[in-house]
Amino acid sequence: MSPAEQSQRRKSSRNGWLLSAPALSLLFLAASGPLLIVLVYSFLTPGQYGNVIWEFSLDGWVGILFTRDIFDGTMNLADAHLTIFWRSVKLSLMTTALTFALGFPTAWFIATRPPAQRAMWLFLITIPFWTNLLIRTFAINEVIRNEGLMNTVLISLGLISEPIRLINTDTAVFIGMAYVYLPLMVLPLFAAIDRFDMKLLEAGYDLYASRLQVLRHVILPIVKPGIIAGSILVFVPSLGAYVTPRVLGGGKNMMIGNFIELQFGQGRNWPLGAALSMALLLIVMAALLIYVRASTKGSNPHG
């Protein structure tokens, strides 16, 4: 490489950095700034009426797992907190599984349409994004409530005599979450299946593979990056979901998001709220790491 070429390359690399500097600094400041504040607050002492006192304390972090029993003063494992965490994680996993079960056939269907039609199908998938999340959630509420669309229609058709009580149950939250996050699963799955070479299917059948074997050994390994991307996109926001559980669940059982809000609101324990937020972030990071490891292992060609 001639010195002129080298300097040319350095220049273009410098230009690249310069050009991306505004976006990078925005991302850095907007993402790490508030996060640092949350991190610092999690190590402070709660103020009398909200806010914090600038005194170092680990109580926020200890409070995630342990609580002092208000009646006998002993430190116990905070089973209320663990119940809330587990409910959120369980619901997020279930939502991810359901959106995958519904999203995979959908994505497959779209990817196997003639190219001219695909754009239209994808366009249909994105329609829910035109409306605000809160409005969509209230729309579901309107459909499934006791005197709502679903029950009125079923009763007038004579299929049921008593309304199906769905609203304010965990099932309602589950349905709502799956509905809200389904497009986030379909789109990356479609992108992966779209790149899939259909000739590989024929090759599989030629080698006497059954349909199930083709699915397991040919399709799934190749579209795995899409599955992983979709699962992350669904799992991560599900974990912090706040609106859907509140509107459809009737507020009787808290999720992590609602529990964190309690600490910053009526609970007046900002350090605990901050520590809970950081713990949630750690769970998400752990989930991401597991996914990334699983995906890099899978993509190594073996044999």
Binding site: Q48, Y49, G50, N51, T67, I70, F71, D79, A80, H81, T83, I84, R145, N146, E147, I167, N168, R246, G250, G251, K252, N253, M254, N258, F259, L262, F264, G265, Q266, G267, R268, N269
Partner: protein, 341 residues
Amino acid sequence: MKRTLTALAFLAATTSLAQAEGVLNLYNWGNYTGPDLLAKFEAETGIKVTVTDYDSNDTALAKIEAGGHGFDLVVPSTNYVPIFVQKGLAVELDMAKLPNHANIAPEWMDVAWDPGRTHSVPWQWGSIGMSVNTAVYTGDINTSAIFLDVPDELKGKINVVPEMTDVVNLAVMYVGGEPCTEDTEVLKKARDVLLAAKPHWISMDYGATEKLANNDWAASVNWNGSSMRARLANDTVAHGYPKEGYPIFMDSVMLLADAQNVEEAYTFMNFIMEPENAAMISAFARYNNGIAGSEAFMPEDMKTAPEVVTPEEHQAAGVFLPTCSPTAQQYMTAIWTELLK
């Protein structure tokens, strides 16, 4: 002579035009400020009011404490007024600028949370009780047993508003304790009562007015004004005042220490203490206002409404929630977390 008058009128018109540049930023509860009140205020004074909503006292407190909010007036509840004063977020009022201060009804003048009303002026007051559809349940509704020892007819049909302080204190008073108690024996009983009752609640949500009106719920722990609005839409809904004790609230307007439009804020506070204007506030949200003489201007349907005019026999059970100590607050949060886990 005529010319002089015209000139004077012109002068008056231009001065009021000059005043029209005035603005005021009011930070108030959502769905609480009637647009007709603001229109009248602007027509009379030329001051344009911008209202920003909040949904809880804690939200308002946190936002104002953080600074840089640009608000002039805030409307906290009884038990938050002393916090705003203690933290220096709201200032003492200049009585010379509030001639209508004398209109505050005597019983709302020397209140425990702001003796002599030196820091706050009344917006609205009401109470929390039991909204019950009397077509579903015909028994006594003036008791907290409606939600703490749920009658069979209401099982699976009653809602409880997710207001920690109100709900826990209703339970504390139900088991014979004082609001904001730190007595762990009483708190334990209150917790057990709440935990035992929860399986019979359909939800813990807001929006009782609509859901009682359209029969989604047959009962709810609810505010009296909301009960009245539900009754107007569904005439079998009635409001019960728990005999074991129920919390009364008053939301009061306070002038913020970092207000930018102080003069306009005083004009507004004085304006809302005019009986006719206070009645407009009530006509919108359906709560009482605490201004003497406003009764005459109230809408007809509110003058005799049992939700607005507390019946004599139920008045004694009403309690103003004091500002709970941080310890009491911790106890309540622990019970609340246990209840909603």
